[in-house]
């Protein structure tokens, strides 16, 4: 137990010390060189504005967070559904996967400008569609890989047991795809938050964290903008931590650890 707690100290202490030191240096540089607040706000000021405006930050975080969460769940669901279709019909796989990968590589969230035109100006739907799209492709590519790239020995074994295609799907392909799904969710969770923020830059209601950051910068309220940035960081971190914890719960026996160790 003591060795375990000491290993936690060893892994947590260095980054914590580094983080604190970084903030201290930031504070000292701003104070020491007497930097103007519109150039760079000191951390103490940012923290003060953050706590002062905590209700506003929380409200904006709820708007962006809801958009990200709805898009994340919808995208993950659709991505999984499509990957099952693709693994069942291989010719579709060859047709769609290269396209999905190509789409993944371009910043498709600029599409939100087009989507904004299609819905009411105060609608959150275009932002949610955008998040859905981004998550959809990440989940699709990864889960489809997990469903198809199974060990040939496993498939031969199942055939020797006279297993049907459905049984092979249930007992080999799906369990094989589980770690891929959680990898996809770990990538998607922060991506969904980022997409939700960026989507707010293309018009619509000025109610989310992303739009608050730009509007405060436009009003030269730099420290307040930084306060919203802090809120945005915390929101992204929350999404990431939850998806990581889910992975730990859903993959028994340290399977994640084993795959990380790179078989």
């Amino acid at each position: 137990m003591s060795s375990r707690s000491s290993s936690i100290v060893r892994s947590v202490l260095p980054p914590a010390v580094f983080g604190v030191a970084f903030i201290a240096v930031w504070e000292l540089v701003v104070k020491g060189f007497n930097l103007k607040p519109y150039f760079l706000a000191p951390p103490s000021k940012i923290w003060q504005k953050f706590t002062e405006n905590i209700d506003l930050v929380w409200g904006a975080a709820k708007v962006s967070g809801t958009n990200a969460l709805i898009g994340l769940l919808l995208g993950a669901f659709l991505g999984m559904a499509m990957s099952f279709v693709l693994s069942r019909f291989r010719f579709l796989n060859n047709l769609i996967t290269p396209l999905a990968i190509a789409l993944n590589a371009i910043p498709i969230f600029v599409l939100v400008a087009v989507l904004n035109n299609m819905f009411a100006i105060t609608s959150e739907v275009p932002r949610r569609i955008m998040v859905t799209l981004v998550v959809y492709f990440i989940v699709l590519v990864n889960v489809a890989k997990g469903l198809t790239q199974v060990s040939p020995t496993h498939v031969e074994l199942m055939k020797s047991y006279a297993a049907s295609d459905t049984q092979i799907l249930r007992k080999v392909r799906i369990p094989n795809a589980v770690p891929y799904l959680f990898t996809a969710l770990k990538i998607s969770a922060p991506a969904s938050v980022i997409t939700a923020f960026v989507s707010e830059y293309f018009g619509g209601s000025q109610n989310g964290l992303g739009s608050r950051i730009t509007s405060n910068i436009a009003n030269s309220k730099n420290a307040v903008a930084w306060g919203y940035v802090l809120g945005a960081c915390l929101l992204g971190l929350t999404f990431y931590v939850i998806s990581s914890l889910l992975e730990g719960v859903a993959t028994p026996g340290g399977r994640a650890k084993r795959t990380k160790e790179g078989r």
């Binding site: 060990s151 047991y161 006279a162 007992k171 080999v172 340290g254």
Partner: protein, 266 residues
């Protein structure tokens, strides 16, 4: 009754195309019930292909294959045989016990019956303490023992093994060979065993089938006559060395068109 009856079996891949490969031509082999038969030969001689034909994982191009008195396909559907590969092929998301239960699940056994059989199998391979471990927590030799336990879980009368000890170190390997023999002795299982190790083939087998490549065919069948029960002392026995010499000479007769040996064609 013979366990496996192979009559004029041929197998060609990419049949009729310009890159047709004749993996096996005119194989005839009869394996008696309770017999231990090894298939040995250089890379590309089709020994793994022959094993997969018996397992009905692939279909022959021509010829007849009877397993346990029925067609190879029916024998597969009835789970008449168990199979083990060089990679243990354990499912890493299942515990050791659940891995052994898998073939029983597919047979539709209920939970209590499956657990009882898994416990029995774990005792057989001396891994009772590891029932709830995951495969990655075991050594390579232990994983292979679990794979053998899984192959034997349905109490098959026939065991098909494709270099099951190929990835193990020499000490573990010899230990596993002795264990396999005692398990088969106890259960009366017929074994068809693919290997490229001459001592392994001789130590384990009643008969060693020597095969040659391009096209794959049987060149000689060496009878191994070692008196009494085989154990570690057998490895110092003159009959054992005589068997090794016979197989080696039979393999020398096999014309080698390439210099690569000991590298398997999986």
């Amino acid at each position: 009754m013979s366990a496996v009856e192979i009559t004029n079996i041929s197998k060609a891949f990419n049949l009729g195309s310009s890159n047709q490969v004749d993996a096996l031509t005119d194989i005839n082999l009869s394996i008696a019930s309770g017999e231990f038969v090894s298939l040995i030969g250089p890379s590309g001689c089709g020994k793994s292909t022959l094993l997969r034909l018996i397992a009905n994982l692939i279909e022959p191009t021509s010829g007849e294959l009877v397993v346990n008195g029925k067609s190879a396909k029916q024998a597969r559907l009835d789970q008449d045989y168990g199979m083990a590969f060089q990679q243990s092929g354990l499912f890493e998301w299942r515990t050791v016990e659940k891995n052994i239960e898998l073939p029983l699940e597919l047979k539709g056994w209920d939970k209590a019956k499956r657990q009882a059989r898994a416990t029995e199998m774990l005792e057989l391979v001396k891994l009772s303490d590891f029932a709830n471990h995951y495969p990655w927590q075991l050594s390579g030799g232990m994983q292979q023992r679990v794979a053998i336990a899984r192959a034997l879980a349905v109490h098959p009368s026939l065991l098909l093994m494709d270099e099951p000890f190929g990835a193990l170190d020499e000490m573990t390997r010899e230990h596993m060979q002795s264990e396999l023999l005692s398990i088969c002795r106890a259960s009366g299982t017929t074994v068809v065993f693919v290997t490229h190790s001459i001592p392994e083939a001789v130590y384990l087998s009643n008969r060693v089938v020597v095969m040659s490549p391009r096209p794959g065919r049987v060149t000689e069948i060496v009878d191994v006559s070692i008196e009494g029960e085989r154990n570690d002392a057998t490895r110092d026995n003159s009959a054992f060395f005589k068997g090794i010499t016979s197989v080696r000479e039979a393999l020398r007769g096999v014309e080698m068109s390439d210099h690569v040996r000991g590298i398997e064609d999986r």
